[in-house]
Symmetry: C2
Subunit: 471 residues, 2 copies
């Protein structure tokens, strides 16, 4: 399999190459023969499955049902909602037409094809709310440089699509789902995020409001981790999604959509990884523990038996034993590269002393643990790792937050890898100018209680923007 | 939502229209605006998720890891294995070329793109066996008439792809996986299948041997439920998948691939459904029980409270309560249409008598059950339904098995909706002639101990074929 020798670059010296090496050597992904596409390898796919399992529970609690809509969408569907059409046109990939078929695009997102069905399925207020989700692949023909997980032409994601009778329900659903996203990312992936509203320029094509959660990567670039949109009645009007209310009056539905993708795996690698490789937060790790036997010929059988005994005791943690014929040192490096949170070493001396050695992946802290304390120590260590990964990421995030009063200062701070709070009027032309001058854009906008001067136009405004370079 | 009034046709009078109505009215699937595609609605998707959960456990036991490979495959990959290329060429859909990209097809199956990676990942005998699976969508541009689940241009499936050091391991893996498939389909979906080898004409394009499991639908057509292939070294040679054996000699790997699809859901509907709609076998049903309260104004609160109490006791069965404002009769019909295996009715009189009414979906058997026997009665009824559905399907299958000595007799039996055992030489030209003359082909071929005359060519042969019309 892939060469598992150590990384050749340091995270804080060359972040771009470091990430690319970690992805390869931790066996998260591999290049596809087609540019911009990637192969998601089992170690990364297992993370995605754990994220899916977690979020499927959230969906069930919220009575959202999973379904599956077609990959191919008639081109004229995209023309129905003008802003949506404009937003996605440059990234659409089309299928070569066969016989008499209409022009078909590969889905970049499924609002249009889903709402065409919604218009058939929804008749009465009794059919509302309608809450569906799908897990699928989508294609967006990116022209920007691609990067595994973070920006690829195909990715896996979930997209939730809800229709409600009232504006308030839609607004609440948008916020509620963003709350669930934030909880998932912070508690399971141990990645703190900033949550807020997207500017007019940055909001989803077709939405009236977009909420976003943004994580800041070690190089200071923002990474959008998931978005939740209040679509208002924009699509309902374009796709004629109507219901009879309790007074038998025809009404358009109010809609939301929300999604996150395999990009989360890229964020996890970037935020938590170190110069030895990946670090997987225990809550999302499929294998939370690796047991490495220290093998000598005369004690081999006894040591392996003890390892197996321990692995079965720790099966709920997905404990694995590396009994390959490699040296212990080689194994340590390999599992450090792959980011398994906790390592347990057992040699003949440990057997004699009725103990094991336990090593935390995140801080390399080594501990001798008596046999009868292993279970509680594993539990404690895994909790501590999860907590410390989050706290360190939080510290990192906070160290990158800054503010600026003028463009010059803003540019300087951006170059230092900061996410910078500035006053900025929420206006497309203003933000385009910001982008021209700084190469950055707003990640989140908020209303402040007091006024300031827009960093671009000088106008008085209460709107502030968090500005950063981004992936 | 969809009109839930009863079916307008009977299963044994017009099977084609019956199936199409069941799929719509049980809300399994809906038509896509694109011909040949379908929308998998939540009730069907939940079945697919249960199948996935079941089979993911099988995969884990067999150390097969899930991964994800790209949707788009370079066209020249298909040309590398000649038979594979020829087999899939007519069904490939291509993407309109952008800029300088190579010609790309949407995956109809992933052998080629996966084995390109295998050739990079496999270096030594230590890297073997390599066993990966992916759950994904595939596209095959069918020219035949499509039918929801059974034949659509896009479908969901799993495809497993293993590489081994020896021919025996590959042969065993092919058989082992077919064994797991059969167990899943018979035990969970309650559909008995015939298992055996495909003829030279019918085997997978690129395989040396294909095993298949075939179910027989009520109209006598065979439905292929899953296949498992021994690919030999065909792809290994085309994609240069090699390893150094223990003597440091370069060897080609031996490969298998195996898959089943959302087609299983179509089979389930066809085999078990009746004139009231779908019948879902308990083991694959997400909601195994529906509780219908019989509501009167003065006892409404008490009855609903009892329903909720019961639903929470029966939560492991995914029990749901239908407390909508429809009439009990309407609700009975609706949940019969959707195939929920067991119905529990609770009215004020039942409350007084400390009892419930329990109705089996499959045979409509009604039973008064005392409150303190509900749990055991539910368990017993669900087991019986599962068993009886299988036995009935088995009886149906057996009633459709027949044999013939000459073409005339074969044609007659095929018209009666039989799967017909005949002597037939396993030869492409012979089977093409069979197809020309009868419109049917072999579903499975086997070797007999005694010889007979080939039904097509008259040659002496020990090979027999099970011949049927098919979906």
């Amino acid at each position: 399999m892939a060469d598992s020798k150590g990384l050749t670059v340091k995270k804080n010296e060359n972040f771009v190459d470091w990430y690319s090496e970690v992805v390869q050597k931790a066996e998260l992904a591999d290049h596809s023969p087609v540019r911009g596409f990637m192969i998601i390898r089992p170690r990364a796919y297992a993370l995605w499955e754990n994220i899916q399992n977690y979020f499927n529970k959230v969906l069930r609690e919220k009575n959202v049902l999973n379904a599956y809509f077609p990959l191919l969408i008639p081109d004229y569907f995209f023309k129905k909602e003008a802003e949506h059409a404009q937003g996605f046109a440059p990234e659409l990939a089309y299928v070569e037409q066969k016989d008499d078929e209409q022009k078909l695009a590969i889905r970049p997102t499924s609002e249009t094809i889903m709402y065409d069905s919604y218009s058939k399925w929804i008749r009465s207020h009794r059919d509302l709310p309608l809450k569906l989700n799908q897990w699928c692949n989508v294609l967006r023909w990116e022209v920007k440089q691609t990067k595994p997980f973070v920006r690829t032409r195909e990715f896996l994601w979930q997209e939730g699509h809800c229709a409600f009778a009232t504006r308030d329900e839609a607004e609440n659903n948008m916020a509620e789902m963003m709350g669930s996203y934030q909880q998932m990312v912070e508690e399971m992936l141990a990645i703190p995020v900033l949550v807020g509203r997207k500017s007019k320029m940055e909001k989803f094509a077709g939405a009236i409001t977009t909420l976003t959660m943004e994580a800041i990567m070690p190089d200071g670039k923002a990474l959008q981790m998931g978005t939740s949109h209040n679509l208002g009645q924009n699509f309902a009007k374009s796709f004629n999604v109507m219901f009879k209310d309790k007074n038998e009056q025809d009404q358009y539905v109010w809609q939301t959509s929300w999604g996150f993708s395999t990009r989360l795996i890229g964020a996890l690698a970037m935020v938590h990884g170190d110069d030895k490789g990946l670090i997987v937060p225990p809550k999302v790790a499929a294998n939370k523990i690796v047991i490495v036997p220290i093998l000598f010929e005369d004690s081999r059988t006894k040591v392996l038996a003890q390892c197996k005994h321990l692995a079965s005791q720790l099966s709920e943690y997905g404990a694995i034993i590396d009994d390959s014929d490699k040296s212990p040192g080689w194994k340590f490096s390999e599992w450090e590269m792959k980011g398994i949170p906790l390592r347990i070493e057992i040699g003949p001396k440990d057997l004699d002393k009725k103990q094991v050695v336990m090593v935390r992946r995140d801080n390399n802290k080594k501990e001798i643990v008596a046999e009868n304390h292993i279970i509680e120590s594993v539990k404690k260590n895994l909790e501590d790792i999860q907590k410390d990964l989050y706290l360190n990421a939080k510290k990192m995030l906070e160290s990158k937050m800054d503010s600026a009063r003028d463009i010059k200062q803003l540019i300087k701070k951006l170059e230092e890898g900061k996410i910078v709070k500035v006053f900025m009027v929420d206006d497309k032309r203003v933000e385009e100018k910001l982008k021209e001058e700084t190469g950055a854009n707003s990640r989140i906008v908020e209303e402040e209680s007091k006024e300031g001067e827009c960093i671009v136009s000088g106008q008085k405004t209460k709107t502030i923007a968090y500005v950063a370079r981004n992936y």
